[in-house]
């Protein structure tokens, strides 16, 4: 193995790739501009939709309760609802979104309330529909308020203090610093994006430097030189790895700048709650460095896999058809990693991609499981080494290199 030869091949591939628009697009332009724009764009749209839905006064319907006119009057008086006239087809009206929610009042409701018995009010909504959900939430708040007032009135009538029904108050306060909150909120989406970009960044250089060269006839030219096959693979592989890492760094830097400058109040379509986190969303720099360190073996793994798969193809187009399905193999564990309730354990620490997704999520939220970090780094490095050896083996095979 000659480092000088590997360096010569790497320098040439780097120069060549910097002149390739497709590579520049996938490793620098997309990670820098499109992905944050997409994330922020989706966040902005989601945030706008939710706030508009919250501002809207919902149309609701009261079913039954003809003998309880006070309830209807109070609902109208609250100014929080547009109360529609009762209709027999109220279910279809909710389905058609002409009415957002309905409250069914039993007969003799007000009388029962005065008597202290417990009549049941049923609220109807269209589950999964945002505006319907918000309307039913407001109806619930209205009826809870009504119930509290009824309790207070009944207690007063019996000469009892109101605290008897509320013996203590419950308050909640946050102790997490803003960067930890930021880490928790971003912890899901950032590892997913990084894993995806790490893969996408390696994709184009891997295809261009293998199948692309075979197709253009330059692979045979290169094989005529005295460089060993291993040196050629390593020189080219270093370029693929560079593409992958550049994509990750560009994306992290760009997201960091966007968050700092915009002071995001939304991330990935999830509105950030008001307060310290919403005011200045930030991530612990140590978490970012940790993520970068963990990404290196993953980038090696992705680069080696993409290099090997693309090498088998005869043309760039054929390589695309082999590598495109791999995106799903990468995305699935990355998505599983961001699902709530999946915690890191020893078995999951050995599961490639999923382990990185989980550990990055933890590191960004300020939790450092050093044992797992070592296992994940070690196992991923081992998988990467196996994949790289496979690349060298494939490159030595005549039926792969001269496949026609």
């Amino acid at each position: 193995m000659s480092w000088r030869t590997i360096g010569t091949i790497y320098a040439k591939e780097l120069r060549d790739s910097l002149r390739d628009r497709r590579t520049l697009l996938s490793t620098i332009v997309i990670p820098t501009f499109v992905m944050p724009a997409l994330v922020m764009g989706v966040g902005k749209v989601a945030s706008t939709v939710v706030s508009r839905a919250r501002e809207e006064i919902p149309r609701v319907m009261v079913i039954g309760g003809a003998d309880s006119p006070g309830i209807r009057a109070e609902l109208e008086k609250s100014g929080r609802f547009k109360v529609e006239a009762a209709s027999a087809d109220w279910r279809s009206l909710i389905s058609e979104k002409r009415v957002r929610a309905a409250a069914e009042i039993p007969a003799g409701f007000e009388q029962a309330l005065e008597a202290g018995s417990a009549p049941a009010v049923t609220l109807y909504d269209y589950e999964g529909e945002l505006k319907s959900g918000l309307a039913v939430e407001q109806l619930r708040n209205f009826f809870v308020g009504l119930r509290d007032r009824a309790i207070a009135r009944l207690l007063k009538a019996r000469g009892l203090p109101p605290t008897i029904a509320r013996p203590f108050e419950l308050e909640q306060a946050n102790v997490a610093p803003p960067e930890k909150i930021g880490g928790n909120l971003l912890g899901g989406i950032v590892p997913y994006l990084i894993i995806l970009l790490c893969f996408m960044g390696a994709m184009n250089p891997a295809m261009d430097l293998t199948a692309g060269e075979k197709e253009r006839g330059t692979m045979e030219t290169l094989l005529c030189c005295p460089a060993s096959r291993t040196d050629i693979v390593l020189g080219k592989f270093c370029m693929v790895l560079t593409g992958s890492l550049i994509a990750v760094v560009c994306s992290l830097v760009s997201m960091g700048i966007t968050l700092t400058v915009v002071g995001a109040s939304f991330v990935g379509g999830r509105p950030v709650p008001a307060g310290p986190a919403g005011a200045a969303l930030s991530i612990d720099p140590a978490g970012i460095l940790g993520v970068l360190a963990m990404v290196i073996p993953v980038a090696v793994l992705f680069s080696a896999i993409l290099f090997t798969v693309s090498l088998f193809a005869k043309s760039f187009k054929e390589a695309q058809s082999y590598t495109a399905p791999l995106v799903f193999i990468v995305i699935i564990p990355a998505i599983i990693g961001i699902l709530p309730g999946i915690d890191l354990n020893f078995r999951l620490a050995l599961f490639p991609i999923l382990n990185i997704s989980l550990v990055c999520k933890e590191m960004l939220s300020g939790v450092w499981h050093w044992g797992y970090i070592a296992v994940i780094f070690g196992s991923t490095a081992l998988y990467a080494a196996v994949a790289l050896s496979l690349s060298v083996m494939m490159f030595r095979r005549e039926d792969v290199i001269f496949r026609t």
Binding site: K12, T221, P226
Partner: protein, 247 residues
């Protein structure tokens, strides 16, 4: 010098089974001589040449190129061989200068030697005008000159040409032929494969006729004419590869 002894390459195909790309091919080429390997498409020329350039490993047999065994010392063989084929293309996004320099570095030239060699090649091949132009912007003739410079940058003892004029216009093909003659003039060992009879007639000191992977006949043009009784190389070729066919 090139010394091929019973050089054989067997390919395995799932549908067609075993294919003998080259079957016990033996010949030798002395320095300062051009050996022409003449054969139809699929006759085994490229396979034989690729084995000698160490791009393919022989299944059996042996070959010594520039004093090195192709199986045991492939890197040393490649360091002493210049391989030019229709299928060896240029990097489109590199300039002609970068292309030549890249292969100079891969062949172990240091920077001062490389600069000197580049200047010499650019002078000899009249390349100064387009040396800093990207290869994808070059004309066919310019590309061919760049390819020649790429094969010569490390001044190899042995030159292997695999149908180098394939798909080229007459003027570019003539410049290639002239260049091959110059290689002989400089004392290099030249192996030249072609299916164009006129090229073999004009260029080669010795002609080997290859068919279905086997070397069917070998000799000077005069030898081949005498052994077949035909005046024309094309007729000689037909008589050797298809003895039953009318000439």
């Amino acid at each position: 010098m090139i010394e091929a002894t019973l050089l054989t390459k067997v390919f395995h195909d799932r549908r067609k089974g075993e294919i003998r790309g080259a079957d016990a091919v033996s010949f030798h080429v002395e320095p300062g001589r051009i050996y022409g390997l003449l054969g139809a498409n699929g006759a085994g020329k490229t396979t034989t040449l690729r084995m000698l350039a160490t791009l393919l490993r022989p299944t059996s047999g042996s070959a010594v190129v520039a004093g090195h065994d192709v199986a045991r010392e492939p890197d040393k063989v490649r360091a002493d061989v210049g391989f030019l084929a229709a299928s060896t293309a240029l990097y489109a996004r590199l300039t002609a200068r970068e292309m030549i320099a890249y292969f100079g570095r891969l062949n172990g030239l240091d920077e001062p030697s490389l600069r000197l060699r580049l200047r010499t090649l650019a002078d000899e091949l009249d390349m100064h005008e387009f040396l800093d132009r990207r290869c994808d912007k070059l004309s066919t003739g310019m590309k061919q000159k760049t390819s020649i410079a790429r094969t010569l940058v490390h001044d190899p003892q042995v030159m292997i040409f695999d149908e180098p004029t394939l798909g080229l216009d007459v003027m570019t093909a003539r410049s290639i032929i002239r260049f091959v003659r110059e290689c002989r003039g400089r004392g290099k060992t030249v192996l030249y494969s072609t299916h164009v009879m006129s090229e073999a007639e004009k260029l080669c000191d010795t002609i080997g006729i290859i068919h279905a992977g086997r070397l069917m006949a070998e000799g000077t043009l005069a030898d081949l004419r005498a052994s077949t009784g035909c005046a024309d190389l094309e007729e000689c070729f037909i008589k050797i590869v298809s003895p039953g066919e009318p000439g």
